[in-house]
């Protein structure tokens, strides 16, 4: 193929350990067809030499599925938070700037610690308990139309892009963010999950919950899975409103 000598330029924000200083390092690497950001990073790992020709440490990042379903490889690419496995080099303006998502603590280079998200999922009980001390039997069937609707919500891969874009998720707030809220919607929607609805609603209106949403609606714009996050949030708002009216003068409703 007649495209030798073409190179790609990358500027990567580096950080050797969670509390060390960040610095920028520039790389220039041979261009290959159909490269994505991850294959470019692999090339740097194979030959860790920066643009000045100095030997350096290989850049560290996280990845899993390589097909935009695990969410591990999210980072800011030219300022936009997205998955590096589906970011095609030919569609990006050069030099390609890579920085870690800044809402999360950096572990090293481009790898961040998304524990905040997993803790939130635990907090709102974003799962459906199906084990008991005895066989609970198969769950109830779900209407197909509802299944299709909830399938969309189930596409969330906890990638963190929506939290990165949210102005109310930051070190000054303990907002759990849009992803976990939408998962509450998902798990409340299934016949089995619904049994734990009130526990989830309690968590959702607890500290750091739903009420912290400031309606900037960035999340729904940036979610790579097209999840209707702001619709989920507004729907939870409606539910919380109805619940608070129902128990305005107190109530024995606790299921």
């Amino acid at each position: 193929m007649a495209e030798e000598n073409k190179t790609i330029k990358m500027i990567i924000q580096r950080q050797d350990s969670p509390d060390s200083q960040t610095y920028e390092e520039e790389f220039e690497l041979p261009h290959r067809r159909n490269m994505n950001v991850i294959s470019a990073l692999m090339e740097i790992r194979r030959n860790p030499v920066n643009a000045k020709g100095e030997e350096t440490t290989p850049v560290h990042w996280e990845m899993g599925c390589l097909e935009e379903v695990c969410g591990a490889c999210s980072m800011n690419i030219n300022g936009v938070p997205r998955q590096s496995c589906t970011a095609l080099v030919d569609q990006l303006e050069q030099p390609i700037r890579l920085t870690p998502m800044d809402t999360f603590p950096v572990i090293r280079d481009l790898a961040v610690d998304r524990s905040r998200m997993f803790d939130s999922l635990k907090k709102v009980k974003a799962w459906t308990p199906i084990d008991g001390t005895h066989d609970l039997g198969p769950g109830e069937r779900m209407p197909e139309s509802k299944r299709q609707w909830s399938y969309e919500l189930s596409k969330c891969m906890t990638c963190g892009v929506c939290l990165e874009a949210c102005p109310n998720v930051n070190s000054k707030s303990n907002f759990i963010g849009p992803a976990a809220l939408s998962q509450v919607r998902l798990h409340n929607s299934t016949p089995n999950g619904e049994m734990h609805k009130s526990e989830r609603m309690d968590a959702v209106t607890g500290d750091g919950g739903l009420q912290n949403c400031g309606n900037s609606q960035n999340c729904v714009q940036v979610c790579p899975k097209g999840i209707p996050l702001t619709t989920s949030i507004a729907a939870l708002n409606r539910e919380a409103t109805v619940n608070s009216f129902k128990s305005f003068f107190g109530s024995d409703y606790n299921y």
């Binding site: 309690d202 009420q211 609606q217 619709t231 507004a234 939870l236 708002n237």
Partner: protein, 204 residues
């Protein structure tokens, strides 16, 4: 409720912004608009408002206390956000930032405005009438300060009304939220027009 304190405060903040504070704002702008009918009409309407029964009670419980809570909690909300509209320049994200900026401007404006009118009346017995406003607004600086203050207040109200509908789960779907955007733009336009017209009537 103890464990849901934050939820309660946030919802209270949203509610008070519209009921009663937002309703008061609309009433206030309507009353002021009578200034465009001439000083006598304005003075008569203003006098009617002043002579409402239980005026002090109304002022304290319908205006002052709700406004105070809304302002204090609002400042806290504004300063716990980290605006990022330059990076994510979506329409709603800009509205998010403007809501916080206008909140602060409105707070400064309202404090000054209340000091100059209602408190001056309570402390020094300054009479609140067309002439008072005409005197204040005869200074170009004050005139423009009031113009900015009024626009900022009305924006904060109109856009806050939009969030109110989302926060209380009234508008859930994107479509209903877009329609509401147009409606609140209308609210903004109408009340800005009324507010600015009144200022011009007072000043010139």
């Amino acid at each position: 409720m103890a464990e849901n304190r934050e939820f309660f405060y946030r919802r209270l903040h949203s509610l008070l912004g519209v009921i009663p504070v937002g309703i008061f704002l609309m009433q206030h702008l309507v009353v002021n608009y009578f200034s465009t009918y001439g000083p006598d009409t304005f003075n008569a309407v203003a006098h009617f408002m002043e002579s409402l029964p239980l005026r002090i009670g109304l002022e304290i419980f319908i205006i002052f206390l709700p406004l105070l809570f809304h302002a204090i909690y609002g400042v806290y909300i504004a300063f716990t956000s980290s605006p990022n509209s330059f990076k994510f320049g979506y329409f709603r994200n800009w509205m998010f930032v403007f809501q916080r900026i206008t909140g602060i401007i409105t707070l400064i404006f309202v404090v000054w405005h209340v000091w100059e009118t209602r408190l001056a009346n309570a402390i020094y017995g300054t009479e609140i009438n067309f002439d008072l406003m005409a005197t204040i607004l005869s200074s170009p600086f004050m005139f423009w300060f009031y113009v900015i203050g009024v626009i900022s207040t009305v924006f904060h109200f109109a856009n806050g009304l939009w969030s109110f509908f989302v926060t209380w789960g009234i508008t859930v779907t994107p479509r209903s939220q877009v329609i509401l955007t147009y409606i609140t733009i209308g609210v903004f336009a109408i009340f800005t027009y009324m507010g600015i017209s009144s200022l011009i009537a007072f000043a010139f």
